[in-house]
């Protein structure tokens, strides 16, 4: 059972390490093709939006846009906090606090 997860961790290690290591190591020698750079620039925001949307809008397998969806409600002040502070720590910390407040109401 655990050996399956060791494989997963090895896979994750490779796909995490290679994108970090290759450009900083090789960039003096190799140039990334322009079209790839342009797609990559969009992959950054696109993957985060793709991950975020289901987490906020889908509860128990159905789209939920209502006041009982606390994640969606808490996301609004969290976005505002992220925009103004640009700090990972502050956003994560206050985000949890906002969610807590919405669950109390």
């Amino acid at each position: 059972m655990q050996s399956k997860y060791i494989l997963m961790i090895l896979g994750m290690t490779l796909v995490t390490y290679i994108p970090r290591m290759l450009p900083v190591t090789l960039l003096s020698k190799v140039k990334i093709p322009d079209i790839l750079v342009r797609i990559l620039k969009f992959v950054g925001p696109a993957i985060l939006a793709s991950l975020l949307a289901p987490a906020l809008f889908i509860t128990e397998g159905a789209v939920d846009i209502s006041l009982s969806n606390h994640y969606l409600l808490a996301a609004i002040p969290t976005f505002i906090t992220a925009y103004f502070t640009r700090s990972i720590f502050t956003t994560v910390f206050l985000g949890m606090l906002y969610l807590y407040i919405f669950t109390l109401i």
């Binding site: 059972m1 655990q2 399956k4 997860y5 060791i6 494989l7 997963m8 961790i9 896979g11 994750m12 290690t13 796909v15 995490t16 994108p19 970090r20 290591m21 290759l22 450009p23 900083v24 190591t25 960039l27 079209i35 750079v37 342009r38 797609i39 990559l40 969009f42 992959v43 950054g44 925001p45 696109a46 993957i47 985060l48 939006a49 793709s50 991950l51 975020l52 949307a53 289901p54 987490a55 906020l56 889908i58 994640y71 996301a75 969290t78 976005f79 992220a82 925009y83 640009r86 700090s87 990972i88 720590f89 956003t91 994560v92 910390f93 985000g95 949890m96 969610l99 807590y100 669950t103």
Partner: protein
């Protein structure tokens, strides 16, 4: 300008790097602790939970993996999602490479390992002030932050296992909150917003069509390519 001069200078850069890593470590702490607590709810053993922090060293990827494991996802979508999430580091790594022209080549593969969202964000602004040994400075900052990450997740495992034997519902929001701030940090132009909205909508639509977590990969690639196509058309 002998050897001693360089050693002295290295020492200065190393100490400076350690000091500057403190805000990065503070940023990792809530994420690492949450990761440790959440990971205990999967089948991962405590050793593998900390092992993942030692080998992978990527907060968002590790939380995504734990989240997907909880949702019974297969391993290939987990690794592929990790890959796509980490593609943004290519651009960070490329932009940092400009500062490391005078850094010993042998250190670059290790420097690459410590590039994270947090170390990049802070390093990119601080590195300009470092007169010498920018590579050594970044490496010291990164390695110190790395230790902070490993110990934060270990702390999470200990807290989750021995101190808190109940679930804290707000911890589930760490990952969405992290996506929100990382998304905001990735938005530099109007087209980024257009691509993000397309990706969000596609991800929800494909969620109901595709099995597993393939909606994330398909939506991301479609929206990113569509962004380039739209740019070319304008």
């Amino acid at each position: 300008m002998g050897r001693e001069f360089f050693i002295l200078n290295y020492k200065k850069s190393i100490i400076s790097g350690f000091k500057k890593s403190i805000p990065v470590i503070l940023g990792y702490m809530p994420i690492g602790i949450s990761y440790g607590i959440l990971a205990l709810q999967t089948d991962l053993s405590p050793y593998l939970i900390v092992g993942m922090s030692i080998f992978v060293f990527a907060g968002s990827s590790q939380l995504i993996a734990v989240n997907m494991l909880t949702a019974q996802a297969a391993l290939i979508p987990i690794v592929m999602t990790t890959f796509l999430v980490n593609l943004r580091h290519i651009l960070m790594s490329a932009s940092l490479s400009l500062h490391f022209k005078n850094t010993p080549q042998k250190l670059l593969p290790i420097i690459g390992f410590v590039i994270t969202d947090e170390s990049y964000a802070l390093g990119n602004t601080l590195i300009k002030d470092e007169e010498e040994n920018k590579g050594i400075f970044f490496l010291a900052m990164g390695l110190s932050a790395y230790l902070g990450w490993v110990f934060s997740s270990l702390a999470g495992v200990i807290i989750g296992r021995y101190i808190l034997n109940f679930e804290i519902p707000v911890i589930g929001f760490v990952l969405p909150a992290m996506f929100i701030i990382l998304l905001i940090l990735q938005i530099n132009e109007k087209m980024d917003i257009v691509v993000s909205i397309m990706a969000a909508l596609l991800s929800i639509v494909f969620y109901f069509i595709l099995p597993g977590n393939w909606n994330i990969i398909v939506a991301t690639v479609t929206a990113a390519v569509a962004g380039v196509v739209i740019e070319n058309a304008i």
